[in-house]
Symmetry: C2
Subunit: 460 residues, 2 copies
């Protein structure tokens, strides 16, 4: 998806990039009511930078600037906006104008925008689209969310196996309706199955009489149209692909996915892992506070439940704590260390699963390694923590119990940190979901129990 | 970087992809000592899959399989291996054979392998390379780590501004030493400065007499050779680029970076954030236990220090806890909720900073929003937590103190979760580094102090 605005005659200057200074200048101009200056600063920017600029302005300033830019609004702008801000802008434009902008986009971009809307808004916009665009978008929306069908571009160049370089070049020259930019030619058989691809550079460098099949073609990695985008991203990264054909259940070619679409997918998937590990459902800094609160509160309520479990364990040892109050001060240290060691093991495991580095063949080896690391680090912290207590409180026995509590909790939490994501992955769930709550709960419950239990048995 | 092995004649079957079954079949064959079967299963795989297969085997099995594959080892395999495993394989091959393999790689891949080695190993391998390859690799290694200079490909196609399509095609056909695959032609002026680029699809579709400058060229996003790869990744993603020219301080063209190189960078950068947030220095599941332990122990020792700070706070309230032992059971709940809310705010902020969504212009707005969210979720948990204590222990006053402790800690931890990464970013540090330790320490220290302090003042 090359932005048409990014094309310019040969003597065009380097494009203006967005800077903090520029954002502040626009904000200042808007504050002073100098709308023309604000627009003249924003106008030369690439649509992606205009989107960032709008996102960084307050809600009112944003509406004012959009109104100012509206007559010459680059439709691509919509594709770069964050979901929340895009909703605002679409509402401001109204269905007719929003639809006119969306009709100018490539199909995959239009789908990207429409799939985020609620059904009534989606329908209202679809109705404003010209019939061919509408049909293409609806066909895309019929594929499952996050599938290859929604990522693919339907415009591609496919030629029969028996053509020569010359025939191909003549065909390309004679058909202005073919896509603007493409990097590979696909060769299809009479059943419309892709059988190979030839990079354009090879076509350009061959004589007209050469058969396409004589050029050394790249082996194809076919992408089934229903395949999840995460798998698509993995395939591109794994094999260093630039583009891949998308096929239906019968192996017939439906479209093409190019690496620039996949860049966004890879970002999204990594972001999903980051957010899930952080207990956040979405990371949209521009989501209104109320919705953000609704997204995050359930996680905190789950956390209240698991922390209460840990509190119940502590409550069992009321008598012990009453006798040795310092246990109350030391016990959070035990569970904190255990939790952190567990999160370390968890982070590495979740990432390795995403990279498909852990399979049945090596999962016991990975678990064994983490156990060894937990043992070694546990021993280091046993010594450090034990000495600390000895130095601080002068109590050798308490130091021993503290150190023993630490190493036991670190080992248990680390095993859980490796085992839980692997188990979730085995049963087909996302290993990042809920893993961290498991790990910290186990570290808390086990850590309090082990430390206070040993103290009750050994010290009192 | 297309893998030469991925090229096949037109009638080649779809490539074999690695599956768990296949990995297990290879492992089983190795166990039975059927080396030929193991090799015959591994051989048809893409080099990237061979790398994954080797990674998933145990150390000894790996060495045996490498020895078996060695006569026909695809040099690309080395580029796909994880750093630790690659070190083992290079050692097994020995400098002469390893050097011969590296000499066959593209320069940027060779640099990628050599930059990870220690200086003596690096020197030993460099000495085995033929002079031109060695010079190219050394020139690449002279650029800073993680800079555009190390990512770029030095082979590119640049043509003068006054050429026609016909001249260009003749030049391409006459020069077999030009790179195999490329997607854009660069147009340079007499000072060797890139002034524009033309996608190959445009060249293919134009008549021979057309001047290149008449084709609508893409505006260029020039990448300075010293630019950090993170910035390069951002530029590609932001503007949807497929390739970009790399220039020296005088604006002269030195090389080209293509989007497939950037895919790896984007992955790496996202991975770095995941690891730093998880308190892990590197996520290599294949790193030996001893080194992993050394990487992770410092973080746990820092954690021991910060948790001890929190313990010191608790110790100040020994008397209060002795009187109301249930405080000891409830206080971990307060800090756990605060910590989790803080980590949520932190996760979103770190990610938004990486996406350059937070700048001076909107940082106060972001902080204000998180404050609002913290207030709302704090109120929800105040009610839920307070009721829980009332139901469990039947103590209204304790419920009030507990709820108040929760909301205060959530608010403080959330502000810290937003402010710390923004401050780190402002002073030029990575916002993901050490942010989570700050947030949990503040949640612990403040939470214990607020909860126990209120209890001491209000309940006793």
């Amino acid at each position: 998806m090359q932005d048409p605005e990014a094309e310019a005659p040969a003597d065009a200057d380097a494009p203006v990039e967005l800077s903090e200074k520029l954002t502040e200048a626009v904000a200042a101009a808007l504050e002073q009511g100098d709308l023309e200056r604000a627009a003249s600063l924003a106008m030369p920017l690439h649509a992606a930078d205009q989107a960032d600029l709008l996102e960084q302005l307050g809600r009112e300033d944003r509406a004012v600037l959009v109104a100012q830019l509206e007559p010459e609004l680059d439709p691509e702008l919509l594709t770069y906006l964050d979901e929340t801000v895009r909703g605002e802008v679409l509402e401001q434009l109204g269905p007719a104008q929003a639809g006119a902008a969306i009709a100018q986009l490539e199909t995959d971009d239009a789908i990207d925008i429409l799939e985020d809307l609620d059904p009534t808004e989606q329908m209202a916009l679809l109705e404003t689209l010209p019939t061919p665009e509408r049909a293409a978008v609806e066909a895309g929306l019929a594929y499952p969310e996050d599938s290859a069908g929604r990522l693919m571009q339907r415009d591609f160049v496919a030629v029969p196996e028996f053509w020569t370089v010359g025939q191909t070049i003549d065909y390309l020259r004679a058909n202005p309706s073919l896509p603007d930019d493409f990097y590979d030619l696909y060769i299809i058989n009479p059943r419309y199955e892709p059988v190979g691809s030839v990079p354009l550079s090879k076509v350009l460098r061959s004589r007209r009489g050469v058969l396409l099949t004589e050029l050394r073609m790249k082996a194809l990695h076919l992408v089934p149209v229903e395949e999840d985008q995460e798998k698509v991203g993995f395939t591109f990264r794994q094999y260093g692909l630039v583009s891949a054909p998308v096929v239906d259940a019968h192996g017939r070619m439906l479209g093409v996915i190019t690496v620039d679409d996949v860049v966004d997918v890879i970002e999204e998937e990594a972001e999903e892992d980051i957010f899930r590990l952080g207990g956040v459902r979405e990371g949209d800094v521009f989501t209104p506070p109320m919705r953000t609160s609704l997204h995050r509160a359930p996680w905190l309520l789950v956390n209240l439940g698991t922390a209460t479990l840990a509190a119940l364990v502590i409550a069992q040892f009321e008598g012990t704590i009453q006798r040795i109050v310092m246990l109350a001060a030391l016990m959070p240290v035990v569970v904190s260390l255990g939790g952190n060691a567990g999160i370390q093991a968890l982070t590495v495991t979740v990432r390795a699963l995403a990279m498909k580095q852990i399979t049945r063949a090596n999962m016991l080896r990975v678990l064994g390694k983490e156990l060894l690391v937990a043992g070694m680090n546990g021993a280091v912290l046993l010594l450090a923590g034990g000495s600390l207590v000895l130095a601080w409180l002068g109590q050798f026995d308490l130091g021993v119990v503290f150190g023993a509590g630490i190493i036991m909790t670190i080992i248990v939490a680390s095993v859980v940190g490796v085992a839980v994501p692997i188990l979730l992955d085995r049963v087909g769930l996302d290993p990042a979901v809920a893993s961290s709550v498991f790990v910290t709960t186990i570290a808390d419950v086990f850590g309090f129990f082990a430390f206070l239990g040993m103290a009750a048995w050994y010290l009192t």
